[in-house]
Amino acid sequence: MLIGVQSVTFRYPRTERVILDGASVALEAGDTVAIMGPSGSGKSTLLAILGGLLVPTSGQVWPSRDDRTGLMIGWIFQTVNVLGRRTALDNVALGAYARGASFDLARSQAEAALRSVGMHAQMGQRASRLSGGELQRVVVARALVSEPHIVIADEPTGSLDVEMSGQVVDALVAAKPVATTVVVATHDPEVARRCGRVFYLESGRLHEESP
């Protein structure tokens, strides 16, 4: 198992509401996983716990905090997080910096990553001038250029139309290395359809849909 949680519960401090109630999931290298569920069902919380940004109220997380030093995670959020005044190439190069790449190496890797998501032509453009779908593909390239063990995408197509959503997810699935695990939180059945495993999160409980 590459990453996972076992019997995890989560409750925000000073609230009674249980966000996650005994959720368990084990992901292997190369898995492509969709986590579906209604708004507020705890998808983002589960991803944050998987990614080590949140500590669960109870339950176990693998790898533990101490064992994560060598685990590279690429993040993609619904809100497009880019440096708007910098070019697409600059933004993707930041992902390569995460791997300790030098300036020149980072730029050549970023160029290759942009090509792999079909954004090579726009690499010199300012991020603020790109469309939502193009921006999200830049973010996909930035996540992948760091050669992550796992990509965690929190509703990456939530603000995109159907056509753009398809382009982004296709870019992610097609460009990812075989061993990279992808976890996507989504409302979109079309996105889930492109993933190998699909989980549903409802009332804090997680269950996997049979293939």
Partner: protein, 362 residues
């Protein structure tokens, strides 16, 4: 390897400076104007004090007069003690003085000049620029420049003096430092008792002058008093005090906060940028270096430009002394240091908190 190379941080600073050039130019211009105003205010305040101080020093700000505490009308001070003061490191020149009555010259009969008998380096006390006359074989009498002109004499001319003694007259300029300087004639006299002892300290300090005189004259068992040669009253300004109490002295504090405001606003608006770097495995220190580095560059650029322009403007009017420019520069440097400290603190705040929240925060 996971994590950033440190060498990439300055490259990011440069790239962000270029990418945000319009914003940075506006903030930099703001810093330039603020720095320029402070630099100019401090520099002109200092320049004004320095000019006043120079004028007062030329007029004998550091010259003191020792007299017996009780007025007896007869010379009581030992001229050798007075002349010996010059051997003290803090004393620039010293000499005894006794008023000897009025004298006239054949070239201007009937015009009474004031004749003083002096010892030591009295002439240098009242005229620091006076030079010892080259020996012509004749006794020398120093005559105030105005008196020399009034008597129709020339510098170095041999004239018949009191009792028909042949002397050489040399001009000096005691007008600024001695109240009777305009018509002053000073003849040398052998060591003995004098009415007054004049001396100049290297720095003006009445307390020190008193201590110097009291300790020098203590052996004579004579009570002496020391006063400044300059007349002072409630309208006399002390340039040192004026400088110390200038209104712009805390300007650096105000300017530091003023310059920090736009930088803190920019830091607050850049919190998502900080979160992006953090999500890409840049350490908090690296993020701080990148975001604060941009702010530091803008402040320093603004302060340097503002100071240079203020210096150039001030230099158009009258030449600015290095000391004045240094005071202006020091104030700006203090303000810049404060603004940088506040900006770093602000940026540091933006690198804390929940990463997921900051990335969603737009």
């Amino acid at each position: 390897m996971i994590g950033w190379r440190w060498s990439n941080a300055p490259l990011e600073v440069v790239a962000n400076l270029r990418a945000n050039r319009v914003r940075n130019a506006i903030v930099g211009l703001f810093c330039a104007v603020a720095s320029g105003v402070l630099f100019f205010a401090e520099m002109t305040a200092t320049q004004s004090s320095v000019t006043t101080l120079r004028a007062l020093e030329a007029a004998g700000r550091s010259v003191y007069v020792v007299e017996p505490s009780t007025e007896t009308g007869v010379p009581l001070l030992n001229s050798e003690t007075c002349d010996g003061l010059v051997r003290l490191p803090q004393v620039r020149a010293s000499g005894g003085l006794t008023f000897s009555g009025f004298v006239d010259f054949k070239t201007a009969p009937g015009t009474p000049f004031r004749l003083f008998l002096a010892t030591g380096s009295f002439a240098r006390v009242v005229d620091p620029d006076s030079v010892a006359p080259s020996s012509s074989g004749l006794p020398t009498v120093m005559v105030a420049r105005q008196a020399l002109f009034q008597a129709g004499l020339k510098d170095g001319e041999a004239v018949s003096f009191v009792n028909g003694t042949e002397v050489a007259v040399h001009s000096f300029d005691p007008v600024l430092r001695h109240p009777l300087g305009a018509l002053m004639v000073v003849a040398p006299r052998p060591p003995g008792l004098v009415e007054q002892c004049w001396f100049e300290l290297r720095d003006a300090d009445l307390a020190e002058a008193s201590a110097v005189a009291q300790s020098a004259f203590v052996q004579s068992e004579l009570r002496v008093s020391v006063r400044s040669a300059q007349d002072t009253n409630e309208f006399t300004t002390d340039p040192v005090r004026v400088f110390e109490q200038r209104s712009s002295r805390f300007g650096w504090l105000v300017l530091g906060f003023v310059m920090a405001v736009p930088l803190l606003v920019v830091a607050w608006l850049s919190r998502q940028q900080s979160a992006i770097y953090r999500s890409l495995y840049a350490s908090r220190t690296a993020v701080l270096a990148i975001v604060a580095g941009e702010a530091v560059a803008v402040i320093v650029w603004g302060a340097a430009v503002g100071s240079a322009v203020a210096l150039a403007v001030a230099d158009q009017g009258e030449s600015v002394e290095a000391a004045s420019a240094l005071v202006g520069l020091s104030a700006v440097c203090l303000a810049v240091a404060l603004a940088i400290g506040l900006a770093i603190g602000g940026v540091s705040m933006t690198t804390r908190g929940q990463l997921t929240d900051q990335l969603k925060d737009r």
